[in-house]
C-alpha cells in the first residue's frame, strides 16, 4: 500500500519524480539565483533615488508600496532591497575573510607542530568570549563602519572552520599515502598543497557558505545595537532600529517586512550550504 501511494504522488508531482541529486542541484540553483538577484537589484538602486515624499508618509503596505512607506514617505521595499544587498556583500566579505584565516591557520598548523598548539589555544580563547561582544569591540576599535563590522565578524567566525580543518588535516597526515609521499622526499608544503588541499576543498567551500548566515545576522545585530554601520547606510540593522521608534504608533510594517526579508536571506544561505554539502559529500551524493 505504501508503495502504491508513493507511485500515485510521483505521477502527479514532477518534483517527487526527480532523484535526490537533481533536486539538490535545483535547490542550489534556485537559492543562488534569488541571492544573486537580490544583490544585483540592490546594486541598481541608487541611494539618492530613495527620496523622501511627504505626501506618502506612514502608508501601510499596498500594491504601490509593497512594504509600505516610512515616516519620511520613503518606499520600504526599495530600502529593504538596498539593505539586503549590503548585508549579503558584508556577509560575503566577512565569510571569505574568515575562511581564508581558517585555511591559513589550519595549514600552518599542519606544517609546524609548535604553532599548531598555539592555534589550538587561540581557537579555545576566541570560543570562550561571546561573539557579539568581540565583534562590537573589534568594530569600535577599527573605527566602525562597513570595514569595522566586516573585520569584526571575520575575526570572530574563523574558529569552527579552523577546528574542522585541523581535525581533518591531522587525520590525513597519519594516512599511508602521506607517509609514502614523505619517503619520496616531498616537502610538507608540497604535501599540503597536493595531497591535503584536494581532500579538504569540500569542507572549505561548504564551511565558507555556512559562515554566511552567521555573518549576516551578526552584522545586522551589531548595527541594530548601534555599534556597526553608520546611520546613513541603508542597512537592515539601521532600518530595524529606526523603526523601533514607530512601532508604538502602529507602523508594524516598518519592522516586519525588513526583518522577515533578512530571515529569508539567512535561511536561503543555510539551505544552499546544506545542499552543496550533500552534493559534494560522496557518501550521500548518489542516494
Amino acid at each position: 500500500m505504501a508503495d502504491k501511494s508513493k507511485d500515485v504522488s510521483s505521477i502527479y508531482s514532477p518534483i517527487a519524480k526527480m532523484n535526490l541529486r537533481t533536486k539538490t542541484l535545483l535547490t542550489i540553483g534556485l537559492t543562488v539565483f534569488i541571492l544573486v538577484a537580490v544583490v544585483i537589484t540592490s546594486l541598481f538602486i541608487n541611494s539618492a533615488d530613495i527620496t523622501t515624499n511627504f505626501n506618502a508618509m506612514n502608508q501601510a503596505p499596498s500594491f504601490e508600496h509593497l512594504f509600505g512607506t516610512d515616516w519620511m514617505g520613503r518606499d520600504m521595499f526599495t530600502r529593504t532591497m538596498k539593505g539586503l544587498g549590503l548585508s549579503v556583500q558584508i556577509g560575503a566579505g566577512a565569510s571569505i575573510l574568515s575562511s581564508v584565516i581558517a585555511i591559513i591557520l589550519a595549514f600552518v598548523g599542519s606544517i609546524n607542530s609548535k604553532l599548531d598548539s598555539f592555534i589550538a589555544w587561540l581557537v579555545d580563547l576566541f570560543l570562550s568570549v561571546p561573539h557579539i561582544l568581540l565583534i562590537i569591540l573589534i568594530s569600535i576599535g577599527l573605527g566602525g563602519g562597513a570595514f569595522g563590522v566586516t573585520m569584526g565578524v571575520a575575526l570572530t567566525h574563523w574558529t569552527s572552520l579552523t577546528r574542522i580543518l585541523r581535525a581533518e588535516i591531522k587525520q590525513i597526515n597519519t594516512s599511508e599515502f602521506v607517509k609514502l609521499s614523505q619517503r619520496f622526499g616531498k616537502s610538507k608544503i608540497w604535501i599540503a598543497k597536493k595531497h591535503i588541499l584536494p581532500l579538504v576543498i569540500t569542507q572549505i567551500i561548504v564551511g565558507t557558505i555556512l559562515i554566511f548566515p552567521h555573518a549576516i545576522m551578526h552584522e545586522a545585530s551589531v548595527t541594530f545595537l548601534g555599534f556597526g554601520l553608520s546611520p546613513h547606510e541603508p542597512a537592515i540593522g539601521i532600518i530595524l532600529s529606526e523603526s523601533m521608534k514607530y512601532l508604538a504608533t502602529g507602523n508594524w510594517w516598518l519592522a516586519l517586512f525588513p526583518g522577515l526579508a533578512l530571515l529569508i536571506i539567512v535561511l536561503l544561505f543555510d539551505i544552499a550550504g546544506e545542499n552543496i554539502k550533500k552534493l559534494l559529500d560522496p557518501t550521500s551524493a548518489n542516494e
Binding site: E176, F184, G185
Partner: protein, 204 residues
C-alpha cells in the same frame, strides 16, 4: 650494498608490550632474502622501520653505514601490503605514478598497466591493478633497496608470476637489494636465496 638493522626495539605508542625486541637483521644486494612469520607478529612493522616510516624506535637502521634520510628520497622503498592505502583517493592514477617517477611505456606493458587506467581514480581499479601501480612506483631509479610486504597476496597465480618476474628482472638489472615478506613458503623457496624466520630474530 648493505641494509643493516641493529638492536631494533619498538612498541606502538599505546601498546603495553614491545612488539619488536633487539632485532638484528643484515641484508645485502647479492642475494634475495625472504622473511616469513605468522600473522600479526610484526613483519609489516619491521618493514616500515627498515624503510624509514618510523623515527621513534630504538636501535639503528643504516644503508651502507648511512642513516636513512628523513627529508629526501628514501633509497629503501616499501611496497605496501594494501595498495589502496598508499594512494590519495582524489588523485588520478597518472598523478599517483608520477609522484615517484616518469615510467616509460615498455615498463608499463611489462607490468600489464593499460594507459586507459591513467585517467581513473584509485577506487575505480581492482586491488591487483592498483598493486601494479604501487610496485612500479617504488621502482624509482633512486631506489637502492626494495622491500615487498606480501605484495602478491591479492593477485591470482598468473598475475603474481608476471609481476614478480618483472620486478626481479629490474632488481637484477639495477643490482638492487630485495626483501620479500610472504606467507607463501613455496614462493619464498623458489625465489629467495636465503630465508629469515621472524621468530628467530625477534628477541621476545
Amino acid at each position: 650494498m648493505e641494509l643493516k638493522g641493529t638492536n631494533i626495539s619498538f612498541k606502538y605508542p599505546l601498546a603495553k608490550e614491545y612488539l619488536l625486541k633487539d632485532i638484528n637483521i643484515h641484508l645485502d644486494n647479492n642475494k634475495i632474502t625472504g622473511l616469513v612469520g605468522d600473522s600479526g607478529v610484526g613483519k609489516s612493522t619491521l618493514c616500515e622501520i627498515l624503510s624509514g616510516y618510523y623515527t621513534n624506535f630504538e636501535g639503528t637502521v643504516e644503508l651502507d653505514g648511512q642513516k636513512l634520510p628523513e627529508k629526501e628520497f628514501c633509497p629503501v622503498q616499501l611496497i605496501y601490503q594494501h595498495p589502496e592505502k598508499v594512494m590519495n583517493p582524489k588523485w588520478k592514477m597518472k598523478d599517483v605514478l608520477e609522484e615517484s617517477w616518469n615510467v616509460d611505456d615498455n615498463l608499463l606493458s611489462e607490468f600489464g598497466i593499460q594507459k586507459s587506467w591513467f585517467t581513473r581514480f584509485p577506487q575505480e581499479l581492482s586491488g591487483g591493478e592498483l598493486q601494479r601501480f604501487s610496485v612500479l612506483r617504488s621502482l624509482n631509479p633512486k631506489t637502492k633497496f626494495l622491500i615487498a610486504d606480501e605484495m602478491t597476496t591479492m593477485l591470482d597465480a598468473i598475475t603474481q608470476v608476471q609481476i614478480l618476474d618483472a620486478v626481479l628482472k629490474i632488481v637484477k638489472q639495477r643490482k638492487m637489494g630485495f626483501l620479500l615478506v610472504s606467507h607463501d613458503m613455496d614462493l619464498v623457496n623458489t625465489i629467495c636465496d636465503d630465508v629469515i624466520y621472524f621468530n628467530d630474530i625477534n628477541g621476545i
